[in-house]
């Protein structure tokens, strides 16, 4: 096997033999709960609408194919594949994603990706955490008024990072029960070189894929919510909607997205520059902050390393940018409203 081929096989699925058998069973029990709910929901919908099965299977197969597609990550010098669970949750719903992920992981176990005893653990991190976090972020941002591509992109990004954070936690809990917090961070650091580029890839890929669907067939993004679950209800219409040849709004960025992008970029840049200056000019990590946090009972944070500071501040900056981006339009709106009132008076 050549080097490129080997590099292309980076995956975060936990293989058989890594987790202890007690934890393997425990994760199976938790995973079964979600698969059972997902399967029940599929069964109910199938009863009402048998054609649902073909849609679910084909969309599931499409998500599977996308999730094993190795895309070159230029800045990491390797290729990686998107998780696809955030995308799957947006397209087929989070519960169906849990059921479909169990099937996908079963197939992948025989290809050396993941395993049979670790299927439960992998299902929780990929299908449940990745899917539910992804769809929650997507719906939250959509509700806040973000454009579809941004909501999908952030969902992909956060869904990917949450999946690997969960996998790292599963490893720490199983293998290093005496120092879970410390080892959780160490495993996360171990994943960092591959997962950060992968999360960026997931952002771009999910954003572009969902944007394409939004422009050409927006009903795909909502069909799983509109499937009738009552027997006798009309089946999914086979009549495809007219494709929109040109969308005048396609290249326009709404006000919220604009503010979010600007504030996120600014805050992340400020955070990273400050961290760099703090670490390299003034030296060391923020010991004072660490010890004060530790005295409050959060000893987990005392273990964090230099690299963690960059990661924590980047995530903090991005989250701060989102909040500020949400608040700014309303602040400016109020200001302009007062100005108008003054002018009227």
């Amino acid at each position: 096997m050549d080097k490129q081929h080997w590099n292309g096989k980076k995956n975060m699925h936990i293989a058989d033999g890594i987790l202890t058998w007690q934890w393997s069973i425990a994760w199976y029990i938790v995973a079964l709960f979600f698969v059972a709910i997902g399967a029940r929901k599929i069964a109910q919908t199938r009863k009402a609408n048998p054609a649902y099965m073909s849609i679910l299977a084909l969309m599931g197969a499409a998500v599977f194919v996308i999730s094993v597609w190795h895309i070159p990550v230029a800045f990491a010098g390797t290729s990686s594949h998107p998780n696809g669970t955030a995308l799957a949750a947006i397209i087929i719903g989070p519960l169906a994603t849990a059921a479909i992920t169990s099937i996908v992981l079963f197939f992948q176990a025989f290809l050396g990706h993941g395993g049979i005893t670790s299927l439960g653990a992998n299902l929780i991190s990929l299908g449940v955490v990745g899917g539910f976090v992804g769809i929650s972020i997507y719906m939250l941002l959509k509700k806040l008024g973000a454009s579809v591509w941004l909501a999908a992109g952030v969902a992909g990004f956060v869904g990917d990072l949450s999946t690997y954070a969960c996998t790292a936690l599963q490893l720490a809990v199983s293998l290093n029960p005496t120092s879970i917090g410390q080892h959780w961070e160490i495993y996360m650091l171990g994943y960092l070189p591959t997962q950060i580029p992968l999360a960026i890839l997931e952002f771009a890929f999910t954003a572009a894929a969902v944007q394409y669907i939004q422009v050409h067939r927006p009903e795909i993004l909502t069909w799983w919510r509109g499937i009738p679950a009552i027997a006798g209800a009309p089946t999914v219409s086979s009549k495809p909607s007219e494709p929109k040849l040109s969308n005048p709004k396609r290249h326009r960025i709404d006000r919220f997205t604009k503010y979010v992008l600007i504030t996120m970029t600014l805050m992340v840049a400020i955070m990273l520059v400050s961290t760099y200056v703090g670490v390299n000019v003034f030296g060391g990590k923020m010991g004072g902050t660490d010890s004060s946090v530790a005295s409050g009972g959060f000893s987990f944070l005392t273990h964090y390393t230099m690299v963690d500071e960059y990661v924590v501040f980047t995530i903090g900056g991005a989250a701060g940018g989102l909040v500020v981006g949400y608040l700014l339009p309303s602040v400016f709106g109020q200001l302009s409203k007062r100005k108008e009132e003054k002018q009227t008076v």
């Binding site: 058998w21 230029a74 086979s238």
Partner: protein
């Protein structure tokens, strides 16, 4: 390697998930004819046995047994070993972390000052051995059992029909969708979607467009297929599974019991009881 070659290789990698699963066993050895349900039970018991091992030297036994059985089944050793390499990527991350856990220092990394512990080395080797042993067992199972038969055998274990139906349909459509994706990608590539002059951001956008297009096309196809299935009397359940009622041969059961007992004996030996 030129661009076209790289692209072809990438395509091959993309397709690998599908092609490896769809790989039909070429020979009809005794192992191939063995009851799929017993093979599945034996494999699961053996994998759990491998995971529960506490001594790395005992994990070598299933690895050797699997290689011998692959040779006996006249299956491709190349693809067998190729599939064994994949799980090692995560095993490597986990094993490296374990090196720095323990109490007895055996070495210190120069400049960094990090200690490597003897207990950590032993645990890292054990994890590696367990991963290899478990992967070998599953690898052997899929080498001697077609995926369709394996899915069929799951009906005997009372796996819900909704999961099995979705699994069967998905398995069928993975190859269809893969071909569709390869076609769309090729069309986009031929329109200079991935040339050197195209920026990284644009390329990622192009990959995303292929994904979106694939989902749109799959949705359209699914609507047509769904309508066609319903018009032919499909009610949501299929009766494709033959193993749910099929009886097991006594000889196969006896061999299965022997394998399970061998796994139990291995575990007892590992624990020092026998």
């Amino acid at each position: 390697m030129n661009k076209r070659g790289k692209s072809a290789q990438m395509q091959a990698e993309v397709e690998e998930g599908k092609s490896s699963l769809a790989e039909e066993p070429k020979t009809g050895s005794v192992l191939h004819r063995f009851d799929a349900r017993i093979k599945f039970i034996c494999a699961i018991v053996a994998v759990f046995g491998a995971v529960a091992l506490t001594h790395s030297e005992f994990a070598v036994i299933p690895i050797i047994v699997c290689v011998v059985l692959v040779i006996f089944a006249r299956a491709s050793l190349k693809s067998y070993f190729k599939r064994l390499l994949y799980p090692l990527s995560i095993a490597l991350v986990v094993a490296v972390v374990q090196l720095f856990t323990g109490t007895t220092v055996v070495a210190t990394i120069p400049y960094l000052g990090w200690h490597i512990y003897s207990q950590g080395i032993a645990f890292a080797i054990l994890i590696f051995a367990r991963v290899l042993a478990a992967a070998s067992i599953l690898n052997l199972l899929i080498t001697i059992t077609p995926m369709e038969t394996l899915m069929d055998s799951l009906s005997w274990f009372r796996v819900p029909s909704v999961i099995l139906d979705t699994m069967m349909l998905m398995y069928r459509y993975i190859s269809v969708v893969s071909e569709e994706k390869a076609r769309i990608y090729k069309a986009q590539e031929s329109r200079c979607g991935y040339t050197k002059s195209v920026s990284v951001v644009r390329k990622l956008g192009n990959y995303g467009t292929v994904g979106g297009m694939l989902l749109v096309k799959s949705f359209d196809r699914a609507l047509k297929v769904g309508d066609a299935m319903v018009s032919r009397g499909y009610t949501g359940t299929s009766s494709l599974f033959s193993y749910s009622t099929k009886k097991m041969a006594k000889k196969d059961i006896a061999i299965g019991v022997i394998v399970v007992l061998a796994v139990v004996a291995l575990l007892l030996a590992d624990l020092g009881i026998i």
